[in-house]
Symmetry: D2
Subunit: 281 residues, 4 copies
């Protein structure tokens, strides 16, 4: 039987789970995995349910379920598990995150489609095209930034992109661009936020003498490096490592943290509540 | 409003979640936290639900809910959150896990009651009694083991013990004793199982030259060190540490791993499926 | 044979290791463990050597070795391994770090002497005195702070204290106090610095939605939470934990990180190079 | 100035460090990094020293130093840092470790040369050749194994291979083959040894219900999965992951652990003492 993933978020009130369960039963569904959470901070309730149901249109299922839960005025998403999200990857010169995402995608580990890769440098074109993925070169200068961002969103529309991944894309998006796809642009920052915001975080980390370095995957917002955090991890370092060594060690954390965040988002496991994320891992 | 925790396990079939949600609505409940899992390996469905409901008897709530889900023939447990489990702790001479559990209990971090501590040595009596907890000295010799175990289970009955924690209790329980309280005796083994079963695991670890050592909290079964694992963790070591250093380093992992396992069990977050555990962390 | 630990730091120049080895041979010593490091950032060379040598006065050994290396104008420390450092512990109300240090000390895991514990609250007096350690109550108000700090340094002098441990001591030391014992006051901060400086770091961490929380042990300097870092660690948390849960989870990291830092310092494994530490773990 | 790495291992006796320091001074050297260790278990002393010295032949330096330390009858290795080890990589079908090693090599992170890759399958040929590295296809059947191994050692001799890396090479080497290059063949095993030796370790891990899975890089010996461990690491898993998910998660640990082990060996940071390794990280 085909599987579906539903997420739902609304103000918390009694009866929402029964209404949802009613809807799933009505479409002949059987719940395989379910996780829900009531956030005391915001009073929000959110749930992620994976269920199997007889062959039918996702839109039809969604309509039935939305009918059952309409009084709670929830935000609902429903996706057939075999309908993979379409992801646009952006990258600059450093390609370790891109290489990693493409490899995972190639061996079937990452449940996404990658209709295109966009870069402000030409360096990664051969790599991208070798994977059979179109590469779009969009150089950025101070003057062309608005036009470039317009072109970017045209590409998003044209290719029906579900979300964007900044895989070490070193240009800061304008506030407008950040606001256009809230919760749909994932960035990897090469530090354990909120430590070492801004540029050259490994050099900052070296100067400060930290004993662990990390990486943070977060949704992009107009506040630089302040968006909701999806995933973080760290690795131990020592006095023996200089800033360059930290850069090399950090690559391993960056690519794993970004890959986890992309997978979590691609499997509808991340729900936003204010500036925090609920992650149904 | 008072809160309740329900766990339920049964063969997986459609409709169980709705039936359960029906029951919770019927007692006026509002779900705060819910996690469920269908185990493909065993075909078992299990769920943990925490909900608030108007003041009423837990038994009454349970009856209503069991009525709703009876066709699924589930195993159900229901507990009012403020009804803490009663735990009997057993210990031998090494007291680091006991000290840790008592401290967590004392500062209100560990949601259990500790009606008594049992030991085959007298060493920890002052520590235990300083916490206002009765201490029972039950020395064991080859000949007295059956009588001692009988006395132990009498204490369990008399003090209405919900589960037993072997906090570095160095006597092996008889098969009969293990079978009497399945899924209700937690042991801490001082290695990352299945590596280094049996005695002197740190010395085995030193000989083998492993780069990480660990600890494992598991339910006790007649097969020594083979019971279902609740929690594990590891810590990095180096060639510079001899077996004695590993013992010292290992204490930190043991006490944290055991404390996590006890808390998980005390909060009804562990469900057994065959020889594996589902942990709703 | 008795063992000795020597540390030495000086500007890096060829020949220093041979001169040092000469000295050790001259006192009949045999090196058991040795680690050294040339810091490219500061041009400093530092070394920690543990050696055994026939029974003799540490001062005599030191004189011989300093004679050999004098041309390098190094800072040298030498300690007989069985001469334990004398540590003054300061604490406020939260006692988890103190409890932990005292337990480790009691079972012989922490190679220090604890001549006294000082607190600005009376809460921990029974705990401290039960361990046979004098407890000094030094309450602090805005007006008495200078006098209290004077009393503190009198106690340091009187009890021949080698270093001070702030085990969740919630008063900020004055700049003067910080400068009096550079590299000899260890603080535990309850966040992964440089993130969440200042007060209520767990509440800051909750608001920011980080996926790992941590603790940092560092030497105290006049710049609050900016001193050289000795040790850090983190633990994973999730959206399900509120600020209070983070406080509880953080206790486990704090006590382990502080204990490691105290042990590292007590074993002469930490050398300062500017605002960074070289840790010979 | 050019840099050199020296490692030395011998029975522990006083004077060895001075003799070594004498040698380094005699060749005009300045020690940059030094770590040594006396293993109480075996009575072995071992040291790794990195030093800079005026331009000269490594063999000449070695001769001077060996002259100084000859009375200790040590095993000595000396390498100019810019003389990279030549590594033969073997692989079967699963290419994640190979992809990872080649990427690190390509971006200059892995200080080795890779004169050729050998496989018993043709799958990875395009990948390897795209990196400009010769690919040798050596299929193995029960009957051809001795001939294949002979061919392998011919390639080792012909290409002046320093060490061999089994990057998920799924054929067991014969005892003879293992003995021919002791301490010079590195294997990655996809479990946290000594748990789950042999085949299908992730399936074993799933059955056992462990809460962490791991990977182990070790030197190959005739005892399968029993050789000296160089590096290990683990990652947390949950009941929600089936054996296939563990395989996917495990890939991340395998490639990082193998890469670390190769780098450690390539930088002469691993010294064998019996069946254990001293790792000067």
């Amino acid at each position: 039987m085909p599987q579906f993933v539903l997420t739902l978020a609304c103000p918390d009130r009694p009866g929402i789970v029964r209404a949802l369960a009613d809807g799933i039963v009505e479409v002949g569904g059987n719940i395989l995995d379910n996780a829900q959470f009531s956030d005391p901070g915001t009073g929000m309730f959110c749930v992620r349910t994976q269920f199997e149901a007889p062959e039918q249109d996702a839109a039809a299922i969604r309509e039935v379920i939305e009918g059952k839960v309409s009084e709670f005025r929830p935000m609902v998403s429903l996706r057939a598990v075999d309908r993979k999200y379409r992801v646009l990857i952006m990258v600059s010169r450093l390609d370790h995150c891109l290489v990693d995402l493409l490899y995972r995608w190639e061996i079937g580990e990452m449940p996404i489609e990658i209709p295109l890769v966009v870069s402000n440098h030409k360096d990664t074109r051969p790599l991208v095209e070798r994977h059979g993925i179109p590469f779009v070169y969009l150089p950025v200068t101070a003057g062309t930034k608005p036009a470039v961002e317009q072109r970017l969103f045209d590409l998003v529309a044209e290719h029906e992109i579900d979300f964007v991944v900044l895989a070490r894309y070193m240009q800061v998006l304008s506030d407008d661009a950040c606001r256009k796809m809230p919760g749909r642009i994932i960035n990897i920052h090469h530090s354990f936020l909120p430590g070492f915001k801004g540029s050259k975080p490994y050099h900052q980390a070296y100067e400060r003498g930290v004993k662990l370095i990390g990486a943070t995957a977060h949704y992009v917002t107009p506040d630089l490096d302040q968006g909701p955090i999806i995933e973080q991890d760290v690795v131990r370092v020592s006095h023996g490592q200089n800033a360059d060594s930290l850069v090399a060690i950090g690559r391993d954390v960056e690519r794993v943290v970004l890959a986890r965040a992309v997978r979590l988002h691609a499997e509808d496991r991340v729900v936003l509540t204010g500036n925090r994320t609920v992650v149904f891992a």
